[in-house]
Symmetry: C2
Subunit: 145 residues, 2 copies
DNA sequence: ATTATAATTGTAATGATAACAACTTTGTTA
DNA sequence: TAACAAAGTTGTTATCATTACAATTATAAT
Protein backbone atom coordinates (compact mmCIF):
# COMPACT_ATOMS: atom_id res chain seq x y z
CA UNK A 1 0.00 0.00 0.00
CA UNK A 2 0.95 3.61 -0.46
CA UNK A 3 2.29 5.38 2.58
CA UNK A 4 0.65 8.63 3.52
CA UNK A 5 3.13 11.15 4.89
CA UNK A 6 1.75 13.24 7.74
CA UNK A 7 1.65 17.00 7.75
CA UNK A 8 4.24 17.01 10.55
CA UNK A 9 6.59 14.75 8.59
CA UNK A 10 6.41 17.12 5.64
CA UNK A 11 7.06 20.15 7.84
CA UNK A 12 10.24 18.50 9.06
CA UNK A 13 11.22 17.71 5.48
CA UNK A 14 10.94 21.37 4.56
CA UNK A 15 12.92 22.45 7.63
CA UNK A 16 15.68 19.98 6.75
CA UNK A 17 15.96 21.59 3.33
CA UNK A 18 16.02 25.09 4.80
CA UNK A 19 12.76 26.00 3.11
CA UNK A 20 10.96 28.74 4.96
CA UNK A 21 7.77 27.60 6.72
CA UNK A 22 5.50 30.49 5.86
CA UNK A 23 1.85 30.49 6.85
CA UNK A 24 0.76 30.20 3.21
CA UNK A 25 3.16 27.35 2.39
CA UNK A 26 2.07 25.35 5.41
CA UNK A 27 -1.52 25.97 4.46
CA UNK A 28 -1.02 24.60 0.92
CA UNK A 29 0.97 21.66 2.27
CA UNK A 30 -1.69 20.80 4.82
CA UNK A 31 -4.40 21.11 2.18
CA UNK A 32 -2.62 18.58 -0.02
CA UNK A 33 -2.23 16.07 2.82
CA UNK A 34 -5.94 16.31 3.59
CA UNK A 35 -7.29 16.49 0.03
CA UNK A 36 -5.82 13.60 -1.87
CA UNK A 37 -8.11 14.01 -4.85
CA UNK A 38 -5.31 15.41 -7.05
CA UNK A 39 -6.62 19.00 -6.98
CA UNK A 40 -5.97 21.71 -9.56
CA UNK A 41 -4.43 25.07 -8.70
CA UNK A 42 -7.86 26.60 -8.87
CA UNK A 43 -9.35 24.11 -6.41
CA UNK A 44 -6.47 24.63 -3.99
CA UNK A 45 -6.72 28.39 -4.27
CA UNK A 46 -10.50 28.59 -4.00
CA UNK A 47 -10.67 26.35 -0.93
CA UNK A 48 -7.81 27.90 1.02
CA UNK A 49 -9.01 31.38 0.06
CA UNK A 50 -12.08 30.82 2.25
CA UNK A 51 -9.76 30.53 5.27
CA UNK A 52 -7.13 33.04 4.15
CA UNK A 53 -8.90 35.77 2.15
CA UNK A 54 -5.62 37.57 1.46
CA UNK A 55 -4.11 34.57 -0.31
CA UNK A 56 -2.92 35.19 -3.83
CA UNK A 57 -3.08 32.65 -6.62
CA UNK A 58 0.51 33.52 -7.50
CA UNK A 59 1.51 32.27 -4.07
CA UNK A 60 -0.20 28.96 -4.73
CA UNK A 61 1.79 28.61 -7.96
CA UNK A 62 5.02 29.64 -6.24
CA UNK A 63 4.45 27.30 -3.33
CA UNK A 64 3.69 24.35 -5.57
CA UNK A 65 6.89 25.00 -7.52
CA UNK A 66 8.89 25.00 -4.29
CA UNK A 67 7.25 21.79 -3.08
CA UNK A 68 7.81 20.09 -6.43
CA UNK A 69 11.48 21.10 -6.52
CA UNK A 70 11.83 19.72 -3.00
CA UNK A 71 10.35 16.43 -4.21
CA UNK A 72 7.38 16.60 -1.85
CA UNK A 73 4.74 17.00 -4.55
CA UNK A 74 4.34 15.55 -8.02
CA UNK A 75 2.59 16.90 -11.09
CA UNK A 76 -0.22 14.97 -12.76
CA UNK A 77 -0.77 15.79 -16.45
CA UNK A 78 -3.35 13.16 -17.30
CA UNK A 79 -5.36 15.80 -19.15
CA UNK A 80 -3.92 18.39 -21.54
CA UNK A 81 -6.01 21.24 -20.19
CA UNK A 82 -5.59 20.82 -16.43
CA UNK A 83 -2.50 20.37 -14.30
CA UNK A 84 -3.08 18.54 -11.06
CA UNK A 85 -0.96 17.99 -7.97
CA UNK A 86 -0.36 14.93 -5.77
CA UNK A 87 1.25 14.82 -2.32
CA UNK A 88 1.96 11.12 -2.85
CA UNK A 89 5.28 10.92 -4.68
CA UNK A 90 5.75 7.15 -4.57
CA UNK A 91 5.32 5.28 -7.86
CA UNK A 92 1.66 4.66 -8.60
CA UNK A 93 -0.69 4.90 -11.54
CA UNK A 94 -3.63 7.25 -12.11
CA UNK A 95 -6.97 6.38 -13.64
CA UNK A 96 -9.33 9.17 -14.67
CA UNK A 97 -13.00 8.36 -15.09
CA UNK A 98 -14.23 10.08 -18.24
CA UNK A 99 -17.75 10.09 -16.83
CA UNK A 100 -17.43 11.57 -13.33
CA UNK A 101 -13.90 13.00 -13.56
CA UNK A 102 -12.60 11.24 -10.46
CA UNK A 103 -8.92 10.35 -10.51
CA UNK A 104 -8.17 7.00 -8.83
CA UNK A 105 -4.77 5.77 -7.66
CA UNK A 106 -3.72 2.24 -8.51
CA UNK A 107 -0.67 0.10 -7.81
CA UNK A 108 1.73 -0.70 -10.59
CA UNK A 109 4.74 -2.94 -10.94
CA UNK A 110 7.21 -0.56 -12.55
CA UNK A 111 9.90 -3.23 -12.90
CA UNK A 112 7.63 -5.36 -15.06
CA UNK A 113 7.08 -2.34 -17.24
CA UNK A 114 10.66 -1.67 -18.26
CA UNK A 115 11.09 -3.82 -21.32
CA UNK A 116 14.80 -3.21 -21.76
CA UNK A 117 14.44 -0.51 -24.38
CA UNK A 118 15.58 2.00 -21.77
CA UNK A 119 18.63 0.12 -20.51
CA UNK A 120 21.03 3.00 -21.09
CA UNK A 121 18.65 5.76 -20.09
CA UNK A 122 18.76 7.61 -16.77
CA UNK A 123 15.17 7.58 -15.53
CA UNK A 124 14.14 10.34 -13.11
CA UNK A 125 10.36 10.29 -13.30
CA UNK A 126 7.64 7.75 -14.10
CA UNK A 127 3.97 8.35 -14.77
CA UNK A 128 1.22 5.95 -15.78
CA UNK A 129 -2.13 7.38 -16.86
CA UNK A 130 -5.21 5.35 -17.73
CA UNK A 131 -8.64 6.63 -18.75
CA UNK A 132 -12.03 5.02 -18.96
CA UNK A 133 -15.11 4.55 -16.79
CA UNK A 134 -15.06 3.74 -13.08
CA UNK A 135 -17.17 0.94 -11.52
CA UNK A 136 -19.56 3.39 -9.89
CA UNK A 137 -20.36 5.09 -13.20
CA UNK A 138 -20.62 1.72 -14.95
CA UNK A 139 -23.23 0.50 -12.47
CA UNK A 140 -25.14 3.79 -12.66
CA UNK A 141 -25.35 3.34 -16.42
CA UNK A 142 -26.73 -0.17 -16.01
CA UNK A 143 -29.43 1.04 -13.59
CA UNK A 144 -30.67 3.57 -16.12
CA UNK A 145 -31.29 0.94 -18.80
CA UNK B 1 7.91 -3.90 -32.92
CA UNK B 2 5.50 -1.07 -33.58
CA UNK B 3 3.78 -1.10 -36.93
CA UNK B 4 3.97 2.08 -38.97
CA UNK B 5 0.77 2.72 -40.91
CA UNK B 6 1.36 4.17 -44.37
CA UNK B 7 -0.14 7.40 -45.59
CA UNK B 8 -2.25 5.41 -48.09
CA UNK B 9 -3.57 3.12 -45.36
CA UNK B 10 -4.64 6.13 -43.33
CA UNK B 11 -6.33 7.74 -46.33
CA UNK B 12 -8.41 4.60 -46.77
CA UNK B 13 -9.25 4.65 -43.06
CA UNK B 14 -10.62 8.17 -43.37
CA UNK B 15 -12.61 7.29 -46.49
CA UNK B 16 -14.13 4.30 -44.69
CA UNK B 17 -15.31 6.61 -41.97
CA UNK B 18 -16.74 9.10 -44.47
CA UNK B 19 -14.31 11.80 -43.38
CA UNK B 20 -13.70 14.31 -46.11
CA UNK B 21 -10.20 14.11 -47.60
CA UNK B 22 -9.44 17.79 -47.90
CA UNK B 23 -6.07 19.06 -49.07
CA UNK B 24 -5.25 20.40 -45.61
CA UNK B 25 -6.29 17.24 -43.77
CA UNK B 26 -4.22 15.05 -46.04
CA UNK B 27 -1.31 17.40 -45.58
CA UNK B 28 -1.46 17.14 -41.79
CA UNK B 29 -1.93 13.39 -41.99
CA UNK B 30 1.05 12.96 -44.30
CA UNK B 31 3.16 15.21 -42.08
CA UNK B 32 2.45 13.00 -39.08
CA UNK B 33 3.38 9.83 -40.93
CA UNK B 34 6.69 11.35 -41.99
CA UNK B 35 7.55 13.21 -38.77
CA UNK B 36 7.30 10.72 -35.96
CA UNK B 37 8.98 13.00 -33.44
CA UNK B 38 5.66 13.69 -31.60
CA UNK B 39 5.34 17.26 -32.90
CA UNK B 40 3.42 20.10 -31.28
CA UNK B 41 0.67 22.02 -33.08
CA UNK B 42 3.12 24.83 -33.63
CA UNK B 43 5.70 22.58 -35.26
CA UNK B 44 3.07 21.03 -37.52
CA UNK B 45 1.66 24.41 -38.48
CA UNK B 46 5.03 26.11 -39.05
CA UNK B 47 6.38 23.31 -41.24
CA UNK B 48 3.29 22.80 -43.39
CA UNK B 49 2.82 26.55 -43.67
CA UNK B 50 6.00 26.68 -45.75
CA UNK B 51 4.29 24.52 -48.36
CA UNK B 52 0.76 25.87 -47.93
CA UNK B 53 1.03 29.57 -47.03
CA UNK B 54 -2.75 29.92 -46.75
CA UNK B 55 -2.98 27.28 -44.01
CA UNK B 56 -4.61 28.44 -40.79
CA UNK B 57 -3.58 27.22 -37.37
CA UNK B 58 -7.25 26.74 -36.56
CA UNK B 59 -7.37 24.16 -39.34
CA UNK B 60 -4.49 22.27 -37.77
CA UNK B 61 -6.38 22.16 -34.48
CA UNK B 62 -9.60 21.13 -36.21
CA UNK B 63 -7.87 18.45 -38.26
CA UNK B 64 -6.13 16.97 -35.25
CA UNK B 65 -9.43 16.80 -33.40
CA UNK B 66 -10.99 14.92 -36.33
CA UNK B 67 -8.06 12.52 -36.54
CA UNK B 68 -8.11 11.89 -32.79
CA UNK B 69 -11.86 11.22 -32.81
CA UNK B 70 -11.32 8.78 -35.67
CA UNK B 71 -8.69 7.01 -33.56
CA UNK B 72 -5.89 7.66 -36.04
CA UNK B 73 -3.89 9.99 -33.80
CA UNK B 74 -3.18 10.03 -30.08
CA UNK B 75 -2.42 12.88 -27.73
CA UNK B 76 0.81 12.96 -25.71
CA UNK B 77 0.65 15.08 -22.54
CA UNK B 78 4.04 14.20 -21.09
CA UNK B 79 4.61 17.88 -20.31
CA UNK B 80 2.02 20.20 -18.80
CA UNK B 81 2.83 23.10 -21.10
CA UNK B 82 2.90 21.39 -24.49
CA UNK B 83 0.47 19.02 -26.15
CA UNK B 84 2.03 16.66 -28.67
CA UNK B 85 0.57 14.31 -31.25
CA UNK B 86 1.48 10.77 -32.32
CA UNK B 87 0.34 8.90 -35.44
CA UNK B 88 1.23 5.63 -33.71
CA UNK B 89 -1.82 4.64 -31.69
CA UNK B 90 -0.64 1.20 -30.57
CA UNK B 91 0.27 0.84 -26.88
CA UNK B 92 3.79 2.10 -26.23
CA UNK B 93 5.59 4.25 -23.67
CA UNK B 94 7.20 7.66 -24.10
CA UNK B 95 10.49 8.82 -22.62
CA UNK B 96 11.34 12.53 -22.70
CA UNK B 97 14.96 13.53 -22.33
CA UNK B 98 15.10 16.52 -19.97
CA UNK B 99 18.38 17.59 -21.56
CA UNK B 100 17.72 17.58 -25.33
CA UNK B 101 13.92 17.37 -25.31
CA UNK B 102 13.74 14.34 -27.58
CA UNK B 103 10.79 12.02 -26.98
CA UNK B 104 11.65 8.35 -27.46
CA UNK B 105 9.20 5.48 -27.92
CA UNK B 106 9.67 2.32 -25.93
CA UNK B 107 7.89 -1.02 -25.70
CA UNK B 108 5.83 -1.86 -22.64
CA UNK B 109 3.92 -4.87 -21.46
CA UNK B 110 0.65 -3.28 -20.44
CA UNK B 111 -0.80 -6.53 -19.11
CA UNK B 112 2.05 -6.88 -16.62
CA UNK B 113 1.29 -3.38 -15.45
CA UNK B 114 -2.30 -3.92 -14.39
CA UNK B 115 -2.02 -5.01 -10.78
CA UNK B 116 -5.66 -5.93 -10.31
CA UNK B 117 -6.70 -2.66 -8.71
CA UNK B 118 -8.61 -1.85 -11.90
CA UNK B 119 -10.47 -5.14 -12.28
CA UNK B 120 -13.90 -3.54 -12.45
CA UNK B 121 -12.87 -0.49 -14.45
CA UNK B 122 -13.51 -0.04 -18.17
CA UNK B 123 -10.16 1.07 -19.61
CA UNK B 124 -10.24 3.07 -22.84
CA UNK B 125 -6.82 4.69 -22.94
CA UNK B 126 -3.35 3.96 -21.56
CA UNK B 127 -0.32 6.23 -21.40
CA UNK B 128 3.10 5.69 -19.87
CA UNK B 129 5.44 8.66 -19.56
CA UNK B 130 9.02 8.52 -18.31
CA UNK B 131 11.48 11.40 -17.99
CA UNK B 132 15.23 11.53 -17.51
CA UNK B 133 18.37 11.74 -19.65
CA UNK B 134 18.94 9.86 -22.89
CA UNK B 135 22.15 7.89 -23.64
CA UNK B 136 23.38 10.47 -26.12
CA UNK B 137 23.14 13.31 -23.59
CA UNK B 138 24.67 11.09 -20.88
CA UNK B 139 27.73 10.41 -23.03
CA UNK B 140 28.04 14.07 -24.01
CA UNK B 141 28.12 14.97 -20.33
CA UNK B 142 30.92 12.47 -19.71
CA UNK B 143 33.01 13.88 -22.57
CA UNK B 144 32.88 17.36 -21.09
CA UNK B 145 34.36 16.25 -17.77
C1' DA C 1 -25.26 24.23 -63.12
C1' DT C 2 -27.47 24.99 -58.73
C1' DT C 3 -27.87 24.34 -54.22
C1' DA C 4 -26.76 22.50 -49.77
C1' DT C 5 -23.31 20.94 -46.75
C1' DA C 6 -18.88 20.92 -44.93
C1' DA C 7 -14.26 22.86 -44.35
C1' DT C 8 -11.18 26.68 -44.01
C1' DT C 9 -9.76 31.10 -42.63
C1' DG C 10 -8.73 35.19 -39.72
C1' DT C 11 -9.88 37.42 -35.79
C1' DA C 12 -11.33 37.83 -31.23
C1' DA C 13 -12.21 35.65 -26.73
C1' DT C 14 -10.85 32.67 -23.09
C1' DG C 15 -8.15 30.72 -19.55
C1' DA C 16 -3.95 29.00 -17.39
C1' DT C 17 0.45 30.30 -16.12
C1' DA C 18 4.53 33.42 -15.70
C1' DA C 19 6.78 37.96 -15.05
C1' DC C 20 7.14 41.79 -12.47
C1' DA C 21 7.48 45.44 -9.02
C1' DA C 22 5.68 47.09 -4.68
C1' DC C 23 4.82 45.71 -0.22
C1' DT C 24 5.14 42.69 3.88
C1' DT C 25 7.08 39.29 6.66
C1' DT C 26 10.85 36.84 8.48
C1' DG C 27 15.52 36.09 9.97
C1' DT C 28 20.01 38.03 11.39
C1' DT C 29 23.04 40.93 13.58
C1' DA C 30 24.41 44.37 16.75
C1' DT D 1 15.11 45.08 21.18
C1' DA D 2 16.17 47.92 16.95
C1' DA D 3 17.91 48.05 12.35
C1' DC D 4 18.86 45.86 8.32
C1' DA D 5 18.91 42.38 4.71
C1' DA D 6 16.82 38.55 2.61
C1' DA D 7 12.92 36.04 1.43
C1' DG D 8 7.98 35.61 0.61
C1' DT D 9 3.51 37.54 -0.74
C1' DT D 10 0.43 40.20 -3.38
C1' DG D 11 -2.04 42.30 -7.32
C1' DT D 12 -1.45 43.52 -11.82
C1' DT D 13 -0.04 42.81 -16.31
C1' DA D 14 1.91 39.97 -20.02
C1' DT D 15 2.22 35.78 -22.51
C1' DC D 16 0.88 31.80 -24.73
C1' DA D 17 -2.03 27.84 -26.17
C1' DT D 18 -6.46 26.80 -27.34
C1' DT D 19 -11.31 27.71 -28.57
C1' DA D 20 -15.35 30.32 -30.43
C1' DC D 21 -17.24 32.51 -34.06
C1' DA D 22 -18.72 34.43 -38.40
C1' DA D 23 -17.43 35.15 -43.11
C1' DT D 24 -15.53 32.98 -47.06
C1' DT D 25 -14.33 29.08 -49.88
C1' DA D 26 -14.46 24.36 -51.35
C1' DT D 27 -16.81 20.02 -51.84
C1' DA D 28 -20.83 16.98 -52.57
C1' DA D 29 -25.43 16.06 -54.09
C1' DT D 30 -29.21 16.87 -57.11
MN1 LIG E 1 -2.08 9.83 -6.85
MN1 LIG F 1 5.10 7.53 -29.78
ZN1 LIG G 1 -16.84 7.66 -12.64
ZN1 LIG H 1 18.94 13.81 -24.69
Amino acid sequence: MLLKPSFEDLKKELKNRNINLSYQRLSVLEYLTQNRCHPTVDQIFTDIHKEIPTLSKTTVYNTLRVLIEAGLVRVITIEDNETRYDIEVKDHGHFKCESCGTIYDFCINMDMLNSGDLNNFKINDKNVYFKGVCPRCLSNKNENK
